[in-house]
Symmetry: C2
Subunit: 348 residues, 2 copies
Amino acid sequence: MNLKPSELAMVPFVSVANMMKLIHHVGIEKMLTEIAHEIEEDFKRWELFDKTPRIPSHSDVGVIELMPTSDGELYGFKYVNGHPKNAAAGLQTVTGFGLLADVRTGYPVLVSEMTVLTALRTAAMSAVATKHLAQKSARTMAMIGNGAQSEFQILALKAVCGIDTARLYDIDPSATEKCAANLKGLGIKIIKCQSPEEVIEGADIITTATADKNYQTILTDNLVGAGVHINAIGGDCPGKTELHRDVVARASVFVEYPPQTRIEGEIQQMDADHPVTELWQVIAGRIEGRKSASEVTLFDGVGFAIEDFSALRYVQRAIKGTALYRELDMIADPDDPRDLFGMVLRAG
Amino acid sequence: MNLKPSELAMVPFVSVANMMKLIHHVGIEKMLTEIAHEIEEDFKRWELFDKTPRIPSHSDVGVIELMPTSDGELYGFKYVNGHPKNAAAGLQTVTGFGLLADVRTGYPVLVSEMTVLTALRTAAMSAVATKHLAQKSARTMAMIGNGAQSEFQILALKAVCGIDTARLYDIDPSATEKCAANLKGLGIKIIKCQSPEEVIEGADIITTATADKNYQTILTDNLVGAGVHINAIGGDCPGKTELHRDVVARASVFVEYPPQTRIEGEIQQMDADHPVTELWQVIAGRIEGRKSASEVTLFDGVGFAIEDFSALRYVQRAIKGTALYRELDMIADPDDPRDLFGMVLRAG
């Protein structure tokens, strides 16, 4: 009797080590560009996705969330936590893993780490927003918050939008040093700055990625010049914002999924009917994005399930023909599906 | 430089093969009894759990669901599908896997298959309901629907409630043959029956576990005698019921979580305010269960997240000191949590 799991019972699993190998196998800028392309393609067909705000479980130290979606053929979800105090304990603030399943059978077809992959997809998402909203001539970005996301954000904007200069600022100078050291030799001019005022000098694009869980005003209105595009990606839960409300009030605001962004994004500071444009409508060519060279555009990014879905589907394809995954025996697959008990019995 | 994943980054994973070994290591009746005990303990502290109806993604062939909960210390969720037509294609109707995480850090602490484990926890749940609702003298059960769940249901009622005789019926006689063969030598008197009328003769407990996704009336009112306890566990989604509404109307109905059961359970046939008792209140000693020897009690079981949580926590403890799991490199754990990019860079 064959008691080895059948092929049907096996689910490919991409570990953290293999995800890192995949990044080097593909090349990080190419992978960021390709994930950005996947996100764009999925945003174009936004309407056919099953959409729901993420499902949170809050505690006094953080949040654990599930982010499911489906395009009718594949179902995907991400498990992700957000624990701002983890960093002080030497742990990641955000970790995650994700799954894809076949809608026709309900069988999982991929399980993957998503701590590293989320950094890539978040950066790719900022790049997609920037590509569609920033001025085409933009070459200099300011990166405020030089933590775990910062290098990915900068490289994605280099790869997708042609940024050649990154100005760095963090309240902790050692974070800026770390970011600058990591980006050395990667083809970007790095300028280390000492203040929010200094970092945005001459920047066409401002990306904020700070992590503290309370209302902050990293950017005040007098700092933001005409024509700038802002990616505000650090504020992604209730009570966590990065921009002064005057900045939000002056900008044209673009969001992923309004029911989620109104709770979690910068616009949680504004009235419940504050006007926003859904970014997918810009990508699909239905609504104009930037309307003038002097307009301030704001991508109020909180991260949406479809972006994780795009990234997971990319990984599912990218690992084919490689040894960068292993099979997990995760699904019971008895010879007779009604005979689960017999399968258990015979394993004895 | 140490590029091997740290211990923090590793998550114990229990495969299907290891879950089956665990069952044999512990003993199936002991494991059913212990999971039933875990469920009872968690139902006693029901109020402190974070509760939400499961989050479904429906398609025309089935449903994929996420079932999260938390007791404030551990967070758990189950991924589970329900695809009634899978069986005809040689696939499982229901497969699943689950996760436990530490609420303080958001880090996963267990990943486990849950196709086999769900069968155990569903059976343990029926046993808990039966223990608290059936007549203490009950020794004979009728099992209607002799598919993948049936043997587990019968063994759990033997182990927890002292059942010594199981009467079997299925519209497919080969399912009954399979169930009877699997239970041979396990200390239960088995009686194979040819009709619903025959199977319930002399039964003190009736358990229905049929899978088709439409309104069925496997049990009509004239069949159900006074004093019987019914576990209706097959109807667990909108449009899927097993009992004639007259049976439900006559019985005292006990449920897990009313907001979910009113959508998915037998009581979806009844008015939205049809009286029900939450089973946890009976287990906690706050409300009387069975009030007389002639009362018909009905456990309208649909499966709730807390039961999966109880089962996963049991597994987490049970695998300690065994070799019945392996470590998955599922969480990125850079030396400096802000330096995710550096970790990726150095892996090259």
